[in-house]
C-alpha cells in the first residue's frame, strides 16, 4: 500500500507540473481548482478506477464525470499519463483544432466521459449513468467531482434528491471543498454550509476527508463502495492552488494562467 501511495504522490506532482506547463502555454485557464483536485483525480485514475486506456469505451469500465469542467487540465494530464493520448497533446490545450478544449468535450478527447463546463449539470448525468449501469446489471461505479461553488446551483440538489430516491449506491461523488470561487470566499458569496448536514438530509452517506491525503481518499472510497442502497458524498477539504506557494488559498488564481516567469517559479517549487 505504501508503495501505491508513494507512486500516486509522485504522479500527483507530475500532474501539477503538467497543469502549470499547459496553462502557461495556453495563456488562459483555471489553475486554482485544477491544483486542488489533483490527488482525487490521480487516486481515481491510478488506483481506484477500473479502466482501459487502449479501449476507452470498454463497457465495464468505471466512469468519471468532472462536473467542475473548468478543471479539465487535471483530467487531461491524468488521461495523458494513463495513455489515452500523447503527452505532447497537452501543449495544444485551448488552441484551435486541439483535442483538448477549454472545457472538457467528450467528442474531442479520448477518455472524457461527458462534456462539462456549465456548472451544476454533471451530477445529474452521473446519476443517469449509474442508473443505466444498474438497469443493464453492470457492476461499474460512477465517480463524480463537484466544485464547492457549483453546489449553489439548484440542479445539484435536484440530483441529490433523486440519487437517494433511486438508491444509486454505485455512485460516489467527491466535493472539492477548496472554499473559494471566482468572486471570493464561498461563505461570503453564498454560503453552502452546513454541507455535511445538507447531503445527509438528502439521503446520502457523507464522509469528510483531507482531499490531499491519498491514503484517506483510497480508504474512504473502499468504505464507500461497501455501503449499499444510497449514494455517497466524499467532502474533500482541499487548498485552492495546492502545491504552488503563491497560488495557495488565493482567489486571484481561480481563472488566470501563470506567465512564463510565474510558471518557472511554480515548476521549481514542484520539483
Amino acid at each position: 500500500m505504501n508503495n501505491v501511495i508513494l507512486k500516486i504522490a509522485d504522479t500527483s506532482r507530475k500532474i501539477r507540473r503538467l497543469i502549470i506547463e499547459m496553462l502557461s502555454l495556453a495563456g488562459s485557464g483555471h489553475p486554482g481548482g485544477s491544483l486542488s483536485s489533483v490527488e482525487i483525480i490521480a487516486s481515481l485514475y491510478f488506483h481506484i478506477m477500473r479502466h482501459n486506456p487502449s479501449n476507452p469505451l470498454w463497457e465495464d469500465r468505471d466512469r468519471f464525470i468532472l462536473s467542475k469542467g473548468h478543471c479539465c487540465p487535471t483530467l487531461y494530464a491524468a488521461l495523458a499519463i494513463s495513455g489515452y493520448f500523447s503527452q505532447e497533446e497537452l501543449k495544444t490545450l485551448r488552441r484551435l483544432g486541439s483535442i483538448l478544449q477549454g472545457h472538457s468535450d467528450r467528442l474531442q478527447t479520448p477518455g472524457v466521459e461527458m462534456s462539462t463546463g456549465s456548472l451544476g449539470q454533471g451530477l445529474s448525468c452521473a446519476c443517469g449513468m449509474a442508473l443505466g449501469g444498474k438497469l443493464s446489471q453492470k457492476d461499474f461505479f460512477v465517480f463524480c467531482l463537484l466544485g464547492d461553488g457549483e453546489t449553489q446551483e439548484g440542479q445539484i440538489w435536484e440530483a441529490a434528491m433523486s440519487a437517494s430516491h433511486y438508491k444509486l449506491d454505485n455512485l460516489i461523488s467527491f466535493l472539492d471543498y477548496n472554499k473559494l470561487q471566482i468572486d471570493g470566499r464561498v461563505s461570503d458569496i453564498m454560503n453552502i454550509e452546513p454541507l455535511v448536514d445538507k447531503w445527509r438530509a438528502f439521503g446520502w452517506e457523507v464522509m469528510e476527508i483531507d482531499g490531499h491525503n491519498i491514503e484517506e481518499i483510497i480508504s474512504c472510497v473502499d468504505r464507500a463502495k461497501k455501503i449499499k442502497d444510497k449514494p455517497k458524498m466524499i467532502i474533500a477539504h482541499t487548498i485552492k492552488g495546492k502545491g504552488v506557494s503563491f497560488m495557495e488559498g488565493r482567489v486571484e488564481w481561480h481563472g488566470v494562467a501563470p506567465t512564463k516567469e510565474e510558471a518557472e517559479r511554480a515548476l521549481k517549487e514542484l520539483g
Partner: protein, 310 residues
C-alpha cells in the same frame, strides 16, 4: 371524422416500442398522466422514471442514460421540458450529441384554459437553433406514430412537439425525417403548415377552392432539417406562400421557410402564427380564432396575397 390527440398516439406507440426494444427508457417530470407516458409506466415500471417537478435534473439523467447505452424518451409539457431546462438541453444533450428524444406535449395555444403559463409558443424557435438537434411537429396521430418510430432509429437528439387537443386524422402516409409532403396539389398559392395547422390549411384550401383558387397544402413536419426543395418548388410553382403554425411567428416554421426563400427564391410570404404575444385562457377553438391561427385566417391572407399579385 375520426379524431385523436397526438399525445394519445405517443402514449400508445411508446408501449409498442417498449415491447420491441428493451433499451427504451421513459422519463417524466410529474406530468405522466397528461403526456400519456403513464401507459408505458404501467407496463414497464422498471424502465420508467419520474423525477417529480425537476426538469433540469431529468435532462441530465437522460444524458447519463444515453451514455450508458439506453434510448431515453423524455416527456413533460412543452414549456417545462424545453425552455425551462434549455441550457441543460443545449450543454448536456446537444453539445455532446447524445441520443435523447425529447417529446413534449401541450404545445401551443390549443392547450386552452390553462392559459399563458402553460402554452408554449416559443419552443420550436428555441430548439431549432441548437446544433445537432432535429425538430419535428407531427401533423396528426398517424404521423406521430411514424415520427416516433423514425426518431427511435435516428441517432442523435430530437425534439418532437405534440398537442393536448383531439384533432382529425390525415391520410396515413410514409414519414421521413426532413421530408415534406404535399397533402393537396394546387397551383395558385402554397400553404405550408405543421402540427394541427395542417388540418386548418386543408380547410382553408377547401374555402379557397369554392372561390376558384387552387391551393397547394404542404405538411412540413420536420422543421429542422427543413425540406428546402419543397419550399423552393412551392415558390417557383405558385404565386405566394402562407405558413401556418401554432407558435410565435418569430423563429418557428414561418421563419425557417423565409430563411430558405430569402437565400434561394425570394417570394411573397405571410406567416400565420402567434403575433409576438403571450397566450391566454379560453377554449382551444376560441383561442385559435382569437389569435387568428385558423382556417379563416389562412383563407383571408391567401386572398390578400392573390389580389396583390393580380
Amino acid at each position: 371524422m375520426e379524431q385523436e390527440a397526438t399525445r394519445d398516439a405517443y402514449g400508445k406507440v411508446l408501449v409498442e416500442l417498449g415491447r420491441q426494444n428493451p433499451d427504451i427508457v421513459v422519463l417524466d417530470a410529474d406530468t405522466s398522466s397528461s403526456t400519456r407516458t403513464n401507459w408505458f409506466a404501467k407496463e414497464f415500471p422498471d424502465r420508467f422514471f419520474n423525477f417529480g417537478v425537476a426538469e433540469a435534473n431529468m435532462i441530465g439523467y437522460a444524458a447519463g442514460l444515453a451514455l450508458a447505452g439506453k434510448i431515453p424518451f423524455v416527456s413533460s409539457f412543452a414549456v417545462f421540458g424545453s425552455i425551462r431546462p434549455y441550457e441543460q438541453i443545449r450543454t448536456s444533450i446537444c453539445w455532446p450529441n447524445l441520443n435523447v428524444k425529447i417529446v413534449l406535449t401541450h404545445a401551443g395555444i390549443s392547450v386552452g384554459e390553462d392559459g399563458a403559463s402553460h402554452q408554449a409558443i416559443e419552443d420550436i424557435a428555441a430548439m431549432r437553433v441548437l446544433p445537432n438537434m432535429s425538430v419535428i411537429v407531427p401533423g396528426d396521430s398517424n404521423e406521430t406514430r411514424r415520427v416516433i418510430f423514425a426518431c427511435c432509429e435516428h441517432k442523435g437528439p430530437v425534439y418532437i412537439r405534440l398537442g393536448r387537443a383531439k384533432f382529425p386524422l390525415l391520410p396515413d402516409v410514409e414519414f421521413k425525417i426532413g421530408k415534406a409532403r404535399i397533402v393537396k396539389e394546387g397551383k395558385d398559392i402554397s400553404l405550408i403548415a405543421c402540427g394541427l395547422m395542417v388540418f386548418e390549411a386543408l380547410k382553408a384550401a377547401e374555402m379557397l377552392d369554392r372561390d376558384g383558387i387552387s391551393a397547394r397544402v404542404i405538411n412540413m413536419p420536420t422543421i429542422k432539417p427543413i425540406d428546402r426543395e419543397a419550399i423552393i418548388l412551392a415558390a417557383k410553382e405558385t404565386k405566394g406562400i402562407i405558413t401556418a403554425e401554432e407558435h410565435s411567428i418569430i423563429g418557428g416554421l414561418g421563419s425557417a421557410v423565409c430563411e430558405v426563400l430569402a437565400e434561394e427564391k425570394p417570394a411573397i410570404v405571410k406567416r400565420i402564427g402567434i403575433q409576438d404575444v403571450f397566450g391566454t385562457s379560453g377554449k382551444p377553438e376560441e383561442l385559435m380564432s382569437y389569435f387568428k391561427v385558423d382556417a379563416r385566417a389562412i383563407y383571408e391572407e391567401a386572398i390578400k396575397i392573390l389580389n396583390f399579385e393580380c
